[in-house]
Amino acid sequence: MSAKTTTPREIIFRVRRFDPDTDTVPHWDEFRMHVHDGMTVLEALHQLKAEQTPNLAYRSSCRMGVCGSCGMFVNDLPMLACQTQVLHLGTDVVTVAPLPNYPNVKDLVPNLEPLIQKHAAIKPFIIFTNQEEIDEPTGEFIQTPEERESISQFTHCIKCGLCLAACPTVATDPQFLGPQALAQAYRYSADNRDCGLKERLVALDAFHGPYQCHMAGACSQACPKGVDPAFAIQLLKRTLVLDSIGFGKKKSKLAKVMPLADVVKQIEEFAPPPRTAK
């Protein structure tokens, strides 16, 4: 835990409020509070709710950048409130608004339904089509460290939705699949155990698929987990183009089944020597 090294500084919080039961349009409320070194925007919101405005609505859960619940538009940039220190923003006035490009449920709570729908549309799971192998498994599917590394960063997505909030294309074309879904489409299609690219083509090989990306790169800047969705979209384009001209992943290369006998042999080879009593 960081030590409180400086005296608390007064910060003005401009919070965008919207209550669908009473408001027709959102409005801004201002709150003053003393912020100490190390205090995050989420902690400040907790304090505001406890001391000044008990009906303030926002989402949060883990408080350590893992769950992705507290995505907000802080000083006009999408950020996780739990990972953003107020004094690091360097402004005396901090504006907090719900994530753009999503419908607003209440105050700082966005409706993440578009994110979930787009994510589901690209079938974000490993699709294996060898029914015989599914029914009667003959061994283990191998993924080498290199194969894992090639998709590793894209597996870190926590579905916080910041990338869609940052995306200028989503802002003008809500039907665009967006960086989150497209990065996940690449993550699964590039997985050596997957043979589901054909099934994903319904969503991907369409106007609102990866070709709509303007390559602004805002998604990669916004991602709190270091994922580079803009890069994934370019890799996905390459995958789709290669597939369209018949140079896609071949099924035979996908199903790398290691016979059980070989698995046992490998285990025996790497097994530690048996313990002997001293």
Binding site: T169, T172, D173, P174, L201, D205, A206, F207, G209, Y211, Q212, K237, L240, V241, D243, S244, I245
Partner: protein, 120 residues
């Protein structure tokens, strides 16, 4: 056609346009450098008609017409389809751009063919 093929084609024609446009520039704007001819002379109607009779000119300009029309209209379609359109309007945009492209192609082909066959 699948969007991947449409997009790939739009990327593929970029180097073709670059080369053909380079040839066009060499003939029309850098004639003093490449042909020892003044720019004014290179742009004269009679010079153009004379040039248009050669097979290479015909092929170059037909290819340039097809490549630049496809590239430009694919881009225009992208811009228009980013607007909040109803599915009906999306069809109107797609068909409208296709028809407009075919019309311009027919017009360009007519001019190039006329110059090649009957000009002068």
């Amino acid at each position: 056609m699948r969007e991947t093929r449409l997009w790939s084609l739009h990327i593929l024609v970029i180097p073709i346009i670059a080369v053909l446009l380079g040839m066009h520039f060499a003939v029309m704007h850098y004639a003093p450098v490449f042909y020892g001819m003044s720019v004014e002379k290179a742009r004269e109607f009679s010079t153009m008609i004379e040039r248009g009779k050669s097979v290479s000119q015909f092929v170059i300009y037909m290819l340039l017409l097809v490549a630049s029309l496809y590239h430009g209209l694919y881009g225009l379609r992208g811009i228009l389809r980013e607007l909040p359109l109803t599915p009906r309007l999306v069809k109107v945009v797609d068909i409208g751009i296709l028809l407009f492209g075919l019309f311009i192609f027919a017009l360009g082909t007519y001019v190039t063919w006329w110059t090649f066959n009957f000009g002068g």
